[in-house]
Symmetry: C2
Subunit: 344 residues, 2 copies
């Protein structure tokens, strides 16, 4: 029996007090006298427990997944709001909550950190929060926002040396990053329908254009939402890489880049698993996330991605174990070590 590890969950159901505090913080940017203090935010363990037991944990049990790699709500990261100090305070609060959830539910949640990114600010400023989360909170990875401007794309590509301080720390601590944007504040881009998917596609293409993994052979990225458009257009990407005289994508990209299974219908999962080698696919649902309804065509939740794997005729036998557990333990060595201490 495989452990079923969902590598992509966000704390989208945090108690309302968190959102209220954030709104007060945002108001405080204009009106410093009203800026809330961190200690003004009070959320009890019972409130955390309830927010999880009634939501993510309930659905994990219903659907049959065991562990969720759990990070702060992606759309609430909103790195474009305020300056580094605003982001830093906010990231610390959100990361602490995910840590507490993981402490309360050690069998089911393992934390991943958001970073206190801010547009135009050196990514190296994120390192203290990153290291605190790894060393003190047991975080097994990070979420890295390639566009902290929120849809204006004012940062350099992920292959730019400006990002290297983060990558050096990722390699040092042997943690991967999920490349995940936050809320779009550009009216052209719907957050979960365009900005998220575009960012995934954009990241893949940046990594194809560059030679980042020559500098960091051990660096690992997860591209969420099934890799954006990349698997669907895999022929295009293979062809573009060839025109750029890059190695085959299996060598140029797939030693370091992995795709999750947050694709919310059977034909999409079938395409992903047909096109991308099984060793590069990590089970995930992003539950409870962008698409919470029931598919009228199937009668099941759109984001119950485990059903698509169970119904797959492509991912069978030992490959299913890879997608559910083995790949994720390999990409997240600190998760693997943590599970081993639990005898799993």
């Amino acid at each position: 029996m495989s452990l079923i590890i969902d590598c992509h969950g966000h704390y989208t159901t945090a108690p309302k007090a968190l959102e209220n505090w954030r709104n007060a913080q945002i108001a405080g940017i204009q009106d410093p006298a009203s800026m809330p203090r961190v200690i003004d935010l009070k959320i009890s363990d019972d409130e955390l427990r309830e927010s999880i037991e009634l939501n993510q944990l309930r659905l994990m049990k219903e659907r049959g997944s065991d562990i969720t790699i759990f990070s702060p709500r992606a759309s609430f990261m909103a790195h474009h709001i305020g300056d580094f100090q605003i982001s830093s305070t906010w990231a610390a609060i959100c990361n602490e909550l995910c840590y507490r959830v993981a402490q309360l539910f050690p069998d089911h949640f393992v934390p991943v950190a958001m970073l206190p990114q801010s547009p135009g600010v050196d990514p190296a400023t994120c390192i203290p929060e990153l290291e605190k989360c790894v060393k003190e909170y047991g975080n097994v990875g990070i979420n890295l926002n390639p566009d902290p401007s929120g849809g204006h794309w004012t940062s350099p590509p992920l292959t730019d040396k400006a990002w290297y301080p983060i990558y050096e720390k990722m390699v040092e601590h042997d943690i991967p990053a999920m490349v995940h944007v936050s809320t779009s504040c550009n009216a052209c881009f719907h957050t979960t329908g365009a900005h998220y998917i575009n960012a995934d596609t954009t990241a893949v293409m940046q990594l194809i254009q560059g030679d980042l993994f020559q500098d960091f052979p051990a660096l690992r990225f997860i591209i969420p939402h099934g890799g954006g458009a990349a698997p669907y257009h895999w022929g295009r990407y293979r062809g573009l890489a060839q025109e750029m005289k890059k190695p085959l994508l299996q060598d140029h990209l797939l030693k370091n880049v992995f795709f999750d299974t947050c694709v919310y219908h059977q034909p999409g999962i079938d395409l992903l698993t047909k096109v991308i080698p099984v060793d590069n696919i990590l089970f995930a649902s992003e539950m409870i996330g962008a698409v919470r309804g029931i598919d009228p065509e199937t009668g099941h939740y759109f984001d119950d991605t485990k059903r698509y794997i169970e119904n797959s005729t492509i991912v069978v036998g030992d490959d299913r174990h890879k997608v559910y557990e083995a790949n994720t333990r390999r990409v997240f060595p600190r998760l693997d070590a943590h599970l081993k201490t639990q005898g799993r």
Copy 2:
């Protein structure tokens, strides 16, 4: 026997004099004394003929397609360069060349116009060029750039009333628009690997968010490159539409939105044709375009998309006629009328 109509071709092989003139025009923005005149550009019919016969027409004959709907090179539209006057002069030149190609090869090329869009300029300014191309040049459609800024996305969404003057003319003249961006001048977005695909995805989501087709029931858009990420994530889009209380996508979107087959591998075409109703799929290759090489996995050109249709077990029988000919004649009524005058 179906006519095989490729609804997505650009004049990527125009004689070098065109690029030289454009470079002089761009230099002239800074140095008005050096601004070239339109009559300085001299390209003979023989040069046009050669540029087509050795390239697009040769490959059309090799691959077995009959007609290409032919528009100016997308990446050269570069609406972000200069002001409206610069774009206007450039669009007129490019549209005239495609018109001349269509005159020289009336059995094989039918023109579609680029518009003289410019960032921050009212789209209504494009109407004189649009009407000239329809009335004098026999253009059967237009390419509409949802982001004339070239990767900064400073225009409002396609559902905004700012675009309505264009839509009114499209309905009046019964022409569709292909939603197609141009060169990216944002370092985050590779032009053909990220910006094109992102724009397709973005346009689909804008159209899902809005209710544009309530205002324009007869408006028709082609989303190129297989619809960007949309078909791969069709469950996500169905789910997001449901959360927004929109009608089913077949009613909300698919009466007015069509996808081309510019997806450069068999699994992608199979996904597209499995997920999207056959009546919404238009054959296309974007040849000669972004991906010009031979796929080492098949030994055939990546962009020889006819092979994927021929090898499809999904698009068979009369459905193949729809994809190759009937859908395109329906979406482009002026093409249909033109072909009928030719006895086709």
